[in-house]
Structure formats: structure tokens, C-alpha cells
């Protein structure tokens, strides 16, 4: 009888394992992966389920909670603060992501240069902002952007006829301030990711490009960028996820998100509802809304990525 390929490999008998060692998959596999799943159940799934539950309540951790139906959700849709927070979040995301992408590509291109001296030094120093505490960064940047005694305003004052900018008070200016902090912190990290994938591009491509008479700039546009497509997508996706979580920077600038909520972000809004306004149920509803927004964006991302992948394979 001809040997057939088993249709159920997990039921494969001991004798047919590839290594010849008797398999313990069936019996011991689940206990082996259990530690992760148990912890994930306790700290991941259970709180999510619980917060879905309390989102239907007027929930008071120390008092009496009452059932509130879907009121938390209908109220959310009417709450102008939520829409302002959504706008701010995307504005800060755009301001921090796109300039950062361009700069990271530029830096990576410079670091890739063979004639650059002290490569490891530059690569290491790029990561330093990333390991600095957000709070420390915010305090320093608040001084840089200070209205009266900040360096940036002192420089702006050198241009005749230009008024001082109250960065924190303005909508766009506060977004720029926060985006600058985020860019400063994550630029090095993304540069290194780009650098790694740039170094993986075979030299032959550049050699043949230069034989064809391509300039440095043309090599960058027609060789490097297409090869980095997947990496750019990755950085964009991860950046979008991070962008929806911006919290510590605006919170340090002003816990309530500014006098006209000009830098209130979604996560800060959630936090304030729970911990300043004692509206835990409502905050849980905000959390669910954020999850839905992330799901929508992930779906869009998924389709874009798939299209890019199919383009590059064809």
C-alpha cells in the first residue's frame, strides 16, 4: 500500500515524526503553552470582557452602580469632546508620522554611506531619545516651547514683525509641539529600521543602476524606495497604532487637554472620564470606541498592504 500523506498531521503516529523522536505534541503541547494563555486570560481577556460589561453601567468602584443601557454609547456620539479628541488625535498623528518618515529615510540614507566615519557611534546615539522618559522629554520641550522664556520663541522674535507664539494655547501650535516631541523620540528608532532594510538591498542593483548612468538621487528614488515598500508600510502601521495612543505628552502639557480641549487626545479623554470625572462606565464605552476605530484603521491598512504585496510580487 502506498504511503499516504496524513490529512491530520497532529494525529500523526509516533513512528512517523520527522526526527524519529517520539512526539509529545498531543499530550504536552497545551500545558507547555498554557502559562502564556493563562496570564493572557487574566490580564488581557478578562479586563476586556469586564470593561465591556461596565460600559453598560453607571459604574462607581466604591459605591452603587446602576444599569445604564446603551446610554453611555449614545452620549458618546453626542459628546463634542469625543469628536474634538478624535480630530486632535489624527492631526497629531499626521504631523508626527509623515515628516518623521521623510527624515528617517534621509538619516538612514546618510548612515548607509560607506565612507561615513564612526558608524556605530551614530547608530547608537540615534537610539538615545528612545530610552529617555517621556516625562523628562515633555518637561524639557515645555521649556523650549515656553511662551515667554522658551528658546524657540526667542528665535522667532529675531524675525522682525513676528509675534510670540503661545504654543500650548493654540490648536495647531500645540499639535506641532506634541508632534515634535514624538518625532524626536521615535526618529532614531525608525531610522534604524530603514537602515537595516536598506543594507539588505543587494549592491548589484546599485551597481547596474550606476552603469546605466543613474545619479545618486535617481538611485534613491528608483532603487531604494521601491525596495523599502514593505518596511515603509510596516512603519506606517506601527506608527498609526502608536499615534492612537498618544497620552503622556498631552497629559503633561495640561491634564485636561487645554482650555479649549485643543490637545485632548482619545486616550487622554478616556483617562479623564474615568479618573477625573469618576465616570468609569463611560470611560469603558470610550475604550470600546477606540477599539472600533483601531479595527477600522487596521482593515484599511490590511487592504493597502495586500495591494502593495501583490504589486511587488507581480
Amino acid at each position: 500500500m502506498a504511503r499516504q500523506k496524513s490529512l491530520t498531521p497532529w494525529k500523526r503516529s509516533k513512528r512517523t515524526t520527522f526526527t524519529g523522536v517520539p512526539s509529545m505534541n498531543g499530550r504536552w503541547g497545551y500545558p507547555a503553552i498554557a502559562p502564556f494563555f493563562v496570564i493572557f486570560l487574566i490580564f488581557g481577556v478578562a479586563p476586556v470582557v469586564y470593561s465591556v460589561y461596565i460600559s453598560f453601567y453607571k459604574w462607581d468602584p466604591l459605591g452603587v452602580s446602576e444599569f445604564n443601557g446603551i446610554n453611555n454609547f449614545t452620549f458618546l456620539l453626542q459628546d463634542s469632546d469625543f469628536w474634538i479628541a478624535l480630530r486632535n488625535t489624527f492631526s497629531i498623528w499626521a504631523l508626527s508620522t509623515f515628516p518623521q518618515l521623510a527624515m528617517a529615510l534621509g538619516f538612514a540614507w546618510i548612515l548607509r554611506n560607506r565612507r561615513l566615519k564612526g558608524k556605530s557611534f551614530w547608530r547608537t546615539i540615534l537610539l538615545v531619545p528612545n530610552i529617555t522618559s517621556v516625562i523628562a522629554i515633555t518637561i524639557v520641550f515645555q521649556q523650549l516651547f515656553g511662551r515667554d522664556y522658551g528658546i524657540i520663541n526667542s528665535l522667532i522674535q529675531l524675525i522682525p514683525g513676528v509675534e510670540r507664539i503661545d504654543f500650548v494655547e493654540g490648536t495647531l501650535s500645540s499639535h506641532i509641539q506634541i508632534a515634535t516631541m514624538i518625532t524626536w523620540r521615535w526618529l532614531g528608532y525608525n531610522t534604524l529600521i530603514f537602515l537595516a532594510s536598506m543594507l539588505a538591498i543587494p549592491d548589484e542593483l546599485y551597481e547596474s543602476a550606476s552603469v546605466d548612468g543613474a545619479s545618486r538621487w535617481q538611485q534613491f528614488v528608483f532603487v531604494t524606495l521601491p525596495q523599502l515598500k514593505n518596511t515603509i508600510t510596516f512603519v506606517l502601521i506601527v506608527g498609526t497604532i502608536g499615534g492612537l495612543q498618544v497620552f503622556a505628552e498631552p497629559q503633561q502639557l495640561g491634564a485636561d487637554g487645554g482650555s479649549t480641549k485643543q490637545f485632548l487626545t482619545l486616550t487622554l479623554f478616556l483617562y479623564n472620564q474615568a479618573f477625573l470625572n469618576n465616570k468609569y462606565g463611560y470611560a469603558a464605552a470610550v475604550g470600546i470606541a477606540i477599539t472600533i476605530i483601531v479595527l477600522i484603521i487596521s482593515t484599511i491598512n490590511f487592504f493597502i498592504t495586500r495591494r502593495i504585496a501583490s504589486e511587488s510580487s507581480s
Binding site: 466604591l62 459628546d79 515645555q142 521615535w186 506608527g239 502608536g242 486616550t267 477599539t291
Partner: protein, 455 residues
């Protein structure tokens, strides 16, 4: 651009923050608590700012080598959240500090249960040498304290959940040198006479600002650091804020009708319109720098802020003085110390509290840190009344702050006092930055406060 949160807020789990933090506290507390030997007692104190003074802490440890005191500091608001969570899960704290604006929260509903009723506690004889007799309960030491201030630590079910540390008496700190330059009187009694009312205060401010050179104006100098700070000063001179006592735990919400709010709002708006403020938000980096650069000639300064000024602007030593607050007495801030119900060392904690908040110790704290005592028995003590501060041009700060505190009337603190305060503060911020007209901004404040109680 990714993972920008340092707080563990995570995309999927943001809504599970509460659960996770509760679980974290469980874990942390299980690490902190494991079976310590009975003898050396560790008192963990959750506190903020200068509530627990290191000098006094050392003194207590010298008296009681068997007690180890570990103060853990947070900011006021995060500490409040930590307290709420630990009340559900248990925690390592033996003593917790909470600000008076949060007292309304802790005094209502089931929440007093989070704290030990201090009427049930009795002092041991451990501090007998320091003059604290054994067998005293909170009821017995009540007479030492300013009555309305004491009440802020008494829950609506009458249990005593906190003992007051200080009274945030409010007065005006002013720069003698800058007043002189502007041709204003410099003597503190004369300065006090300049502004019996807030209208006069604003008028003096206008006069001061008019004397500033164009360059000084351009660099953002002003008469007062933050004209917005006038709001809470005027509010606290009334008898009610956003809630009014009506015999119930929650009190009656009067944020739309209380004339004191309108008065405080209008006074502040007229100060903002007069342009007397340097628009330096208190406790910002610009404020700290501005203090050194003479950007403001006056600060409405609670007693506890004096120490902050000393630390932030050491070079201005001797250039400051203290005058009376316009419109009567003033108050800002104040703290309670309580024992959480889950504490394992209640007796030791209570012994520490009764010693630490006794009149003698409060006097010492006042002299080193400027926290004004809540023990009214001290208010005719010559040692307090004669206390002068060199940094503030030898002003008799003891006497000045005592007079202010004695003029105060009790104010009912409701559950969301602090939150409503921030909303009104933001409203004034919009007026200050000219983003909205006062009327529009006021309407927005009211609708924001409405939202707090909707849903």
C-alpha cells in the same frame, strides 16, 4: 511615534486599564507585604508635596527606632486615583494624604468605609513623653483644631476619616523693590490699605502696569503672575462654592445660581481685561523663571507657597513682603491625613498621626515649610504670632496668616469640587488667551459642568 505611552495604556487594553491597574496593585502589594517580623513596624505613607516633612520624620524615628517610616510621593490627582483603586483591592499604605477639594468625594456615599473611623482609635502610651496622653481618640483631640477645618475630615456618616494637616491661608506676596520702582508704597500696612477690595487691587495693578516700559511689557511682565488665580481667592471668600449644604450627603448643586461664582468670575474677567497679569500659569516652568526675573510684582500666595518661592527664586531673598488679601480672608488648599481601612499597622499609624499633627509639631512644620497650622490652639501662641520670615523682608508671616485664617467661613465641599474648579479655570484660560469672549466661555463652562452630571 509608536508606543508613546509610558503609562501602560495600550490600544487593545486601554479600556481594561482599571482592571489591569487593580491587578498590578494586588501584585505590588503582595510583594510589599510579605510577613514582616512583628517588631520593626513599617509605616507606608502615600503623600504629596511637603505634607510629610523629612526633618520631623527623622525626629519621630529617633524617638521610635522601632518604627520605620516610608513616605511615597505622588502628585495630588494620581494619588487620588491610587487611593480609589487601593480601596477596592487593598494596598500597602498605612497613612494616606488627600487634598481638601477631594474631601467631598471621600465623605459621601460608601466611600468613608475606605478609611478607618478615627473615633474608634485610641492613642497608646508610646508618645506620652512627647505630651500625648494614652487613650485619646479623635474625638478627644478635636478641640485642638480649627472647627470648620476639622469638619472637612468628618464624613457624612459622622465617622472621622482624616485629621487636618494645614490651612492654606491666602495672602498677597509682593516685591518691595518693584513696588518702589513703580512709585507705590512699600510698607506692608500701607500696601494692605491700597487694596481693601478687589476693584482697588485691579486699579493698583493698572497703575503698576502703566509704569512699565514698552520693552518690559513686550517681554510679558505684569502686576500679578496669573490673573486667573484671583478667581479661587474670591470664591473662597464666600460661604458656598458649587455645592450648598442642604442636610444631604451630596449637597445641592448651585453652580448656576450661586452669586459668589458670578462675582468671582466677573472680578477675574475684569482683571484679565485690565491686562494686569503676566499670564504665567502657576507651577509652570515660565512661572519659575519669571519669579527670578521679576516678571510679576505680586503673587496670591497661600502659606504653603512661601516655601516654593524660596526654593525657586533664592536670589530674590529679602525683596518680598506679605500684605493682606483684598476682600477679607483667603484660603487655598489644605490636606487631610487618614488611615486606610486595610492598613495592617493602624495603631502605629494613629500614634504617628496624633504626634505629627499635634500643635507642637505643626508649629515646627510652619517654621520650616510654611504650612500654616490647622490647630487653632496655636493662634494665640506668641511663638506663632511673633514668627518672622527673613526671606520675606522679616514680615510677621505668623500674624498675617493667622488674621486671614480667622476671617474664613466654612465652605461645603462637594463630590466633584476639584473637577468643576478645573472647568472654570479652563474657562478663564480661554478668556485670558482671547480665544473666546467671557460670555461665550462662561456658557461653555456651564455646559461642560452640566455634562459631568448628565449620563
Amino acid at each position: 511615534m509608536l508606543r508613546t505611552t509610558s503609562t501602560g495604556l495600550n490600544r487593545k487594553n486601554s479600556k481594561s486599564l482599571i482592571g489591569i491597574s487593580a491587578a498590578l496593585i494586588l501584585i505590588v502589594s503582595s510583594f510589599v507585604q510579605p510577613a514582616r517580623a512583628a517588631d520593626p513596624i513599617t509605616l507606608t505613607i502615600w503623600t504629596f508635596g511637603e505634607v510629610i516633612q523629612p526633618g520631623l520624620q527623622r525626629e519621630y524615628q529617633k524617638l521610635h527606632p522601632e518604627v520605620k517610616i516610608i513616605p511615597i510621593k505622588n502628585d495630588v490627582d494620581p494619588l487620588h486615583q491610587k487611593t480609589v483603586l487601593s480601596c477596592q483591592t487593598g494596598g500597602p499604605a498605612d497613612i494616606i494624604a488627600f487634598e481638601v477639594p477631594y474631601s467631598g468625594y471621600w465623605r459621601t456615599g460608601n466611600r468613608p468605609n475606605c478609611f478607618q473611623d478615627l473615633r474608634q482609635m485610641k492613642t497608646s502610651d508610646t508618645n506620652a513623653a512627647a505630651g500625648i496622653a494614652a487613650g485619646l481618640s479623635a474625638t478627644d483631640i478635636k478641640k485642638n483644631y480649627l472647627p470648620w477645618r476639622w469638619e472637612q475630615g468628618v464624613a457624612f456618616n459622622d465617622s472621622v476619616i482624616g485629621i487636618p494637616t494645614d490651612v492654606g491661608g491666602l495672602q498677597v506676596a509682593y516685591r518691595v523693590d518693584l513696588f518702589k520702582k513703580a512709585g507705590l508704597p512699600t510698607d506692608r500696612t500701607q500696601v494692605s490699605k491700597l487694596w481693601p477690595t478687589w476693584e482697588k487691587f485691579i486699579a493698583v495693578g493698572k497703575k503698576y502696569v502703566a509704569k512699565l516700559s514698552a520693552a518690559e511689557k513686550k517681554s510679558g511682565k505684569g502686576f500679578i503672575d496669573d490673573a486667573g488665580s484671583i478667581y479661587s481667592a474670591v470664591m473662597n471668600q464666600g460661604t458656598a462654592k458649587y455645592y450648598q449644604a442642604d442636610g444631604t450627603d451630596a449637597g445641592k448643586l448651585v453652580y448656576k445660581t450661586n452669586p459668589q461664582i458670578k462675582k468671582a468670575w466677573n472680578t477675574t474677567v475684569s482683571a484679565l481685561n485690565a491686562g494686569i497679569g503676566a499670564r504665567l500659569g502657576q507651577f509652570t516652568s515660565d512661572w519659575n523663571i519669571g519669579m527670578n526675573k521679576g516678571a510679576m510684582a505680586t503673587i496670591l500666595s497661600p502659606a504653603w507657597m512661601l516655601d516654593y518661592i524660596k526654593k525657586q527664586a533664592p536670589e530674590t531673598r529679602g525683596k518680598w513682603d506679605i500684605a493682606n488679601l483684598p476682600g477679607g480672608g483667603g484660603n487655598k488648599g489644605g490636606t487631610e491625613l487618614g488611615i486606610p481601612s486595610y492598613s495592617k499597622n493602624k495603631q502605629a499609624a494613629f500614634d504617628f498621626l496624633t504626634w505629627y499633627l499635634a500643635p507642637e509639631q505643626q508649629l515646627k512644620v510652619f517654621k520650616t515649610y510654611g504650612l500654616f497650622p490647622s490647630t487653632s490652639v496655636l493662634y494665640n501662641d506668641p511663638e506663632l504670632l511673633n514668627y518672622k520670615d527673613e526671606f520675606f523682608n522679616n514680615a510677621p508671616v505668623g500674624q498675617i496668616y493667622t488674621q486671614g485664617v480667622l476671617k474664613l467661613k466654612p465652605i461645603f465641599e462637594g463630590e466633584l469640587e476639584r473637577k468643576i474648579d478645573t472647568l472654570f479655570g479652563a474657562g478663564l484660560g480661554r478668556v485670558a488667551s482671547k480665544k473666546m469672549t467671557p460670555e461665550k466661555s462662561y456658557a461653555l463652562v456651564i455646559s461642560d459642568v452640566d455634562k459631568l452630571f448628565k449620563n
